[in-house]
Symmetry: C2
Subunit: 457 residues, 2 copies
Amino acid sequence: MAQRKLDVVLDSVKRLQRMGATANLVNLLQKQHPADLAQLFSELSDKDRRAAFSVLAERNSRLAMEALSELGPEAGAAQLSDRSAEDIVRLTQELPTDDAAALIDYLPEELSAAVLELIQKRPAGGDVGELLEYPEQTAGRIMNPKVFALSEDMTAGEAITAVQSSRDVEVVFYLYIIDARRHLVGVASLRRLLLVPPSTPLKRIMTTDVISVRADMDQEEVARQVASYNLLAIPVVDEENKLAGVITVDDIIDVIKDEATEDVYRLAGVSSDDRVFTSPTESLRKRLPWLLVNLVTAFIAASIVSIFQGTIALLPILAVLMPVVAGMGGNAATQTLTVIVRGIALGELTWGNTRKALFKEALVGLGNGLACGLLGFVIVFALTRDSILGLVLGLAMLINMFVAATAGTVIPVILRALKVDPALASSVFITTLTDMFGFFSFLGLATLFIRYLHTGG
Amino acid sequence: MAQRKLDVVLDSVKRLQRMGATANLVNLLQKQHPADLAQLFSELSDKDRRAAFSVLAERNSRLAMEALSELGPEAGAAQLSDRSAEDIVRLTQELPTDDAAALIDYLPEELSAAVLELIQKRPAGGDVGELLEYPEQTAGRIMNPKVFALSEDMTAGEAITAVQSSRDVEVVFYLYIIDARRHLVGVASLRRLLLVPPSTPLKRIMTTDVISVRADMDQEEVARQVASYNLLAIPVVDEENKLAGVITVDDIIDVIKDEATEDVYRLAGVSSDDRVFTSPTESLRKRLPWLLVNLVTAFIAASIVSIFQGTIALLPILAVLMPVVAGMGGNAATQTLTVIVRGIALGELTWGNTRKALFKEALVGLGNGLACGLLGFVIVFALTRDSILGLVLGLAMLINMFVAATAGTVIPVILRALKVDPALASSVFITTLTDMFGFFSFLGLATLFIRYLHTGG
C-alpha cells in the first residue's frame, strides 16, 4: 500500500481505538490485505498493536493470523507470547503448516513446547512437529507438507476433477504426479491437462524430468535452483524420492531477502537477526563480541606503530599521515572484498575462475594505488613542500592498496575452502592486515629515508 | 545443477571441443537446461564460450539465446557483440520481449542502434523499442508486453478455449480481464474457471480488486508489492489503467537480488554493475572516484591530528593508540549504519519510528562504548602501567562509539530525507566523522591530562 494511503488508514485506526469504536475498527481492519495489515501493525505502538490484533483475532482469526505471519515469525511470535497455549494452537491452525511452524518456533521455549504438545494430539497436527524436526534453514523447514499430488494412474479428465474438488491447497500451478508408493515420478501443468482429450493417461503427458530438492538441502541452495530455473514452486522429496512437500516462490523470495541481508550484515559484523527494532540488550549482546575481537586486532595492528615511536618523535607529521595510508588500504580492500564475497554468494566466482579474478583485482589494485598515491603525493607536497615525504606516502599507499586488493580476493577464497563463511570472517582479517601493512610500509619507508625528510620543522 | 555434475559435463564439453566433434558437442549441449548452460558458459574461457555458443546457436538458436539471457544481460550482450545487426535481430527474436530488450540495451551503442532500427521495421518489432523507451529500473522496462488477456464479455467456457489455443505466452496462471478499450477490470485464475459452469460470464466470477502497478513505477517498489502480496505475477498498466504488460515473479527475483547487491555494494563504495568479471579498466573507472573522495576526506580527518603534533612529539605512544580509538568508532558506526540502511531498504524503518530507533542505537552505542572502553583501559594499563593513559583511551573510545552509533542512525535518515541514497553516501561521511571524533577526543583528552601522563618513557 502506498505510504499516503497507509497513513490515512493508520490515522483512522488510531482514532477508532481512542474512541473505543471496536465494531468500526474491526470493519476497517477487515477490509485490508494481510500484507497491508502487517505494515499497519508495524507502525502502531506495542500497546495499540496488541489491542488491534486482539479485536481482529476475535472476529476474523484467519486474517489476523495472516497479518501476523506477514510481520515475520519473530515479531509475530512476540505478539502471541502472552496468550495461552490452547489459544495459540487454535489461532495457528488458521495458517499454512510452514507459517504456523515458523511462528511456534519463535515462541518462548516453554510456551513453544506446550503448544507443540497440544498440537501433536490433534489429527494432522503432527505436520507442524515434523517440520520443526528438520534443521533450521533447510528445505524441510520451509516447505508446506500439504502438497497437491495426483496418481500416475489417473487420466487427464480425472486429474481436472481432482483439481476442481481440491480444498486447502495454497495454489495449484504445477501438478506433481506420484506412484503408488508416493515416489515423485512426474509433473504437469493445469494448462497441459486442458489441451489433451480427457481420457489421456497422465503418464503419457507428464514431464518425467522433475526438478526437485531433498528435504535436508540448505535453503540458500533451494533458492538458487528456483531462481535459476525460473520455477514457481519446487517439490521437496525425502531420501527415497518420496514427495514430502512443496516450497512456493513466495517463500523463496523471503529466503533470498534474508540471505542478502545476511551477506550485508556479515561484512559489517552484524548478526543476521539484528534488526532495527531488536531490543537494545539483544543487539548489544550480538554486536559486542565482534567489536571486542576488532579491538584486540586493532591493538595488534597498533603494535606495528610502536616499533617506530622513535621516528614519530622526530617527525610527528608521520602520525598525521599514517592513518591516511592505512585507511585507504581498508577502503580498497572493502571494495574488493564486497565484490568477491557477493560473487561467491551469487555463484559467479567458482574454483575454475579464481585465478582470473585474482589477476583482475591485482591489476585494479595497482591502478587505484597509482592514482591515489599520485594524488596523495600532490596533497602532501602542497601542504608540506617536502617532496620526499610525499614520495614516501605515495609509495606506501601504492604498496598497501595493491596488498589490499590481493588479500581482499585471496582471504575470502581461502576461508571458503576452509568452509568458514567468507563474509563473516574476512573483514576483520582484512582491516587488521591493511592497517598493519599501511603502518609498516609508511613508517618503514619514512625511517629508511629519515635523513632526507624535513625533521624538526 | 550440482557442481559435481557440472564438472563432468564441463570436461566433456572441453574434450569434444578439442576433438572438433561438433555434432556430439551440440547433442550434449542440447540436453542441458538453459540455466545449466549459462553456468557452463561462465566456466569456459572466452574463446571456448564463443565457440560453444556459435555451434549451439546454429542448430538450436532458441536454447542458445535462452542460455545467453540466463547469463545476465551484460555478459550476454558481450557474447553477441561481434555479430552483425541482422544476425542479432534474428537471434533475439527467440527471446521474450523483455529479455531481448535487456540484451540489446547492453550492446555497444552503435550496434544497439543498428539493431533497434532493423527491429522497428518488423511486424510487432515495435515492442522492444517501446520497452527501451521506459526509464531504466522501472516496471515498463522489465515487463513483458505480450500479456494474456481475456475480454470481460466472455464466458468461462470461452475463456478456457482461449487458454487452450494460446501460444507464445510465457505461463498462464493469472488471467487478466479487460474491457473493450483494454482497461484492466479484473482477474481470475484458471482453476476458478474450471469450478463454474461454462456459460458463466467472466464478469460474475472475476475479482475486480486487481493489484497492478504503473509502468513508470520503480522496479524496487514493484518487487516490494509482489513480495508483500505473495503474487506470481503483477499486471502493468499505463496512466489510463490500460493493460500494458505483465511482470512475472522470476523477473522480480532478479530485481530483489540486484537491489540487495546494490545495497551491499553502495555501503562499500562499489558501483552496482561492478562484478567479479567486469573488465579491470571498467572496475577501475568505477571504484577510483570513490577512493579519491575518501582520500580527500582522510586528509581532512588527519588535519585534526596535526593540531596535536606537539603532544605527539612529547608522547609518541599516542600515535600508537590513536588509530585504535578512531577504528573502533568506525567499526561501531558500520554496524549501526548497516542495520539502519537495510532497515530503510526493507521498509522496516519509517518516519514514525525513527526516534525509537535513534534511542535504541544510542543505548547500544553507550553499552558497546563502555565495554570496549573498559577492555581498552585494561589492555593499555597492562602494556604501559599508565592508568591515566588507559583512562584517556577508555573515555575517548566511549565518547567516539556513542557518537558513532548516533551519527550512524541520524546521517542515513537525513540523507534519505534529502532524497540521497543513504547507502551510497553514508559510509564516507561516517568514517570521516568517527576518525575526526576519535582523534579529537583521544588527543584532546591526552593534551588536557598531559601533566599526569608518563612522558618521555
